[in-house]
Amino acid sequence: MLEIKPIFNALLRSKVSTFLLLVEIAITVAIVSVAAFVIVDRVNYLQQETGYPEESLLHFSVLTFGDVDRMQQIELDEQMLRNIPDVENAVFMQDVPLSGSGSASSFNSQPDPEIENNKSVRAAYTAGDENMIDTLGVNLIAGRDFNPDEIKYGLSMENPPTVIIASKAFVDEMFPEGDGLGQTVYFGPAPIKIIGIVEEMKGPWLQDSRADNMVIFPYVEVRSFDHYVVRTNPEERTAIKRQIEELMLANYDKRVINPAIGFDEAKAQYNAGDILMARMLMVIIVVLIMITIVGIFGLTLFNISKRTKQIGTRRALGARKSDIVKYFLVENAMVCIVGLVVGSAGAVYLGTLLLQEYSLPALDNAFILYTAGFVFLISLMSVLVPANRAANISPSIATRSI
């Protein structure tokens, strides 16, 4: 019915162009499936929930060189920032989430890591006053916020913080039973009670293996850089961003104010490499598919032009137009299927190679399957036009010049 045997015999007579089509389809399948997999992996990473209303938040840093009581200046600055119209809240913060710069440490279940049964969990941490949770706009799902009297101003070993609010991921890793609220963990030798749990709160480094582990301390300490986070009405954020330097310098001028940046913008900067990778791979896939379509189109045209007489003869002997179209579709499908098998094997091999060499997850075989199906479709479609042209070859061709 499908005349596979004669088509196969005919293919054997044009080995080079058959082989070219096969190679083209195989490489296309391998590249597209691997690239699509990497793109999906990156896009999922880029679109993950961070727990913050990123479009409403902005942050900026300050380096003070003048001789001023900075602790007091922080209070004045916070007041000034909160008084800007459309600003919901503002806070001085030790390190800013999603910014790519911060601090991390191990938290222990025992006062001394040497003690047996000690469990140690790494988490990023930051610190600020009782406005932290509200300013960051995170969702406190259990426990309570800091009380103003719990905030330590200036940090020292003699007077360490005694409470923390932590992300659910950290608390659950430390206490898998789910009873973390109210428990004590140790930061060095200092005992600290978990008084609040936040549903989702990413740390400063999204690529960290413990990106979800985040801890907030109730203290305010001046270091070389002062960071401020401001939550605004999202529509007004751009306008507020522009005023900040001027307003801060008007408050006190012996300092440098770094340009304010939105949380989403800082995240995009931190992830710029991944965004770039996803974009470049998308360009490669799109151009590659276009080139493959043109390539299959060209190869089929070439085959047809070589076989004009053969087609004419078949038509003269009674073959219908649909038979001719079917012939080329079946021929293409046969080559294509072999190419798809070779290409899928290549993709699996590439996938394992990437898994070994790079920090990429294992290639999901569904990607290869979908890609193979897709390439099969576009290959049949790009044969359709030349095949129809072949079907229109007049039977009289066969009788000419023989």
Binding site: V23, A30, F65, M157, G273, M280, G298, L301, Y358, L360
Partner: protein
């Protein structure tokens, strides 16, 4: 003969303009995509100091207890402690060596003429300048005496000199770093490197520092580091002095070793030093462990070229292969259609190798055109890279070697693709075509 073949190639190009243009476009797209990723790769992987990259060595010490793990492949931290850095910097050995770290200041002139701005600074020894090939425009490094007395002196870069003093000789003038007055002792020429190989902590492709101050100021001015600080054990640190004496790792150390003997001698010295420190009870180790890596080894060890980029280069070469397969098919069609003409030429005495050469010249010409157009496409691609990520702006460019590589790769790949059609066509039997005419 070559010129004649070129002429034939050009005629053939014009005879089938559509197919020829299609082929050029196919090569150009393949080359454009490949050169975009290859250029970024080339810039990332380029040796930043070719004439002495095998002499400069990064020093790593495992001044840690046995059993302590680190995340590097050989388990040795990439930075060293302040006390090790200062001791090795000051000890008298016959090699150039320098400790350094990154800090930063607000730079201003204590007047309203210049708006205060932030600058990162390198705290280092005067050996840093000759080691990393930093020639002076004016003045020079600080003196030993200034180092010993922790004088507030600074070497500034050409761009800062331009910004603050309009480019004139500023040696002897003063500048404010935070609220302290520093005296300028030297101005270095602009440091033109893509990879900040001497300190890979905060991004390998960030710009180099524009201020250089003596190491002794760390202790004197209690300078905070702007780089990374790592630790491996819990220590109670309340004062700056305790921080300096701690096992915290936040300094970089480089040594210039001119030959294998030097490397051996310095290695032996480090072995003794570490054993001695272990005996003093700083850490518990059976045998001392350290590493000396030259610049290229150091860049590979720190994965300066990102995995993503290597993957992109691989994929884009595969992509180029697809383009070549298409060109091969088009060439096949084009050349075989010309078989009758070739038959006549063969009958008139052209040898197989002449026909083969003629076709190779033709595909080389296509490759050359494709390479030239490909450079244009690659420039477009690199522009796209730069506009996505300003951090890449110095990297996403084509230097002269890449500009030459583009047509070369295009021609070579076209020769590979064109060899089969050219071979098939030169096997043409003249008799067949003579018969029917």
């Amino acid at each position: 003969m070559f010129v004649h073949y070129l002429d034939l190639a050009w005629r053939s190009f014009k005879r089938t303009p559509l197919v020829s243009v299609l082929m050029v476009i196919a090569i150009a797209i393949g080359i454009g995509i490949t050169m975009t990723s290859l250029s970024v790769y080339h810039m990332m992987a380029m040796d930043p100091i070719p004439h002495k990259s095998d002499k400069l060595h990064a020093v790593q010490l495992k001044a840690m207890d046995d059993g302590e793990e680190w995340w590097t492949e050989d388990n040795i931290p990439t930075q060293i402690t302040y006390k090790d850095a200062m001791f090795l910097n000051d000890v008298d050995l016959p090699f150039r060596k320098t400790a350094s770290t990154r800090t930063g200041f607000t730079v201003h002139m204590n007047s309203s003429d210049v708006k205060p701005f932030l600058e990162s600074a390198r705290v280092t020894s005067s050996e840093f300048f000759p080691m990393f090939d930093l020639p002076f425009l004016y003045g020079g490094a600080w003196t030993e005496q200034q180092y010993q007395s922790a004088s507030p002196v600074v070497v500034i870069s050409q761009s800062i000199n331009e910004k603050l003093f309009g480019g004139e000789n500023s040696v002897g003038k003063q500048v404010y770093l935070d609220d302290q007055v520093f005296q300028i002792v030297g101005v270095i020429k602009e440091w033109d490197i893509h990879t900040k190989y001497y300190d890979l902590n905060n991004g390998a492709f960030n710009s180099t520092e524009n201020l250089f101050i003596p190491l002794s100021l760390i202790e004197a001015n209690e300078l905070a580091t702007w780089g990374n600080t790592n630790g491996w054990k819990f220590e109670e640190i309340n004062t700056f002095q305790e921080r300096l004496n701690s096992e915290l790792l936040w300094m970089q150390f480089w040594v210039e070793l001119n030959n294998a003997q030097d490397k051996q001698a310095f290695g032996d010295y480090l072995n003794n030093y570490l054993s001695e420190q272990a005996t003093l009870g700083r850490f518990e180790r059976e045998s001392p462990k350290f590493a000396l890596r030259d610049v290229n080894e150091w860049m590979a060890y720190n994965n300066v070229v990102s995995e993503d980029n290597r993957l992109l280069v691989g994929l884009s070469f595969l992509f180029l292969t697809v383009c070549l397969v298409n060109i091969l098919a088009l060439l096949l069609a084009k050349f075989l259609r010309r078989a009758p003409e070739i038959g006549v030429r063969r009958a008139l005495g052209a040898s197989k190798s002449q026909v083969f050469a003629q076709h190779l010249v033709e595909v080389s010409m296509l490759g050359f055109f494709g390479g030239i157009v490909g450079i244009g496409i690659a420039q477009l691609g690199l522009w796209g890279v730069r506009s996505t990520y300003s951090y890449f702006s110095a990297l996403a460019t084509m230097d002269i070697s890449m500009l030459l590589a583009a047509p070369s790769i295009a021609i070579v790949s076209c020769l590979i693709a064109g060899a089969i059609p050219a071979w098939l066509v030169c096997k043409t039997q003249p008799a067949i075509y003579l018969k029917t005419q």
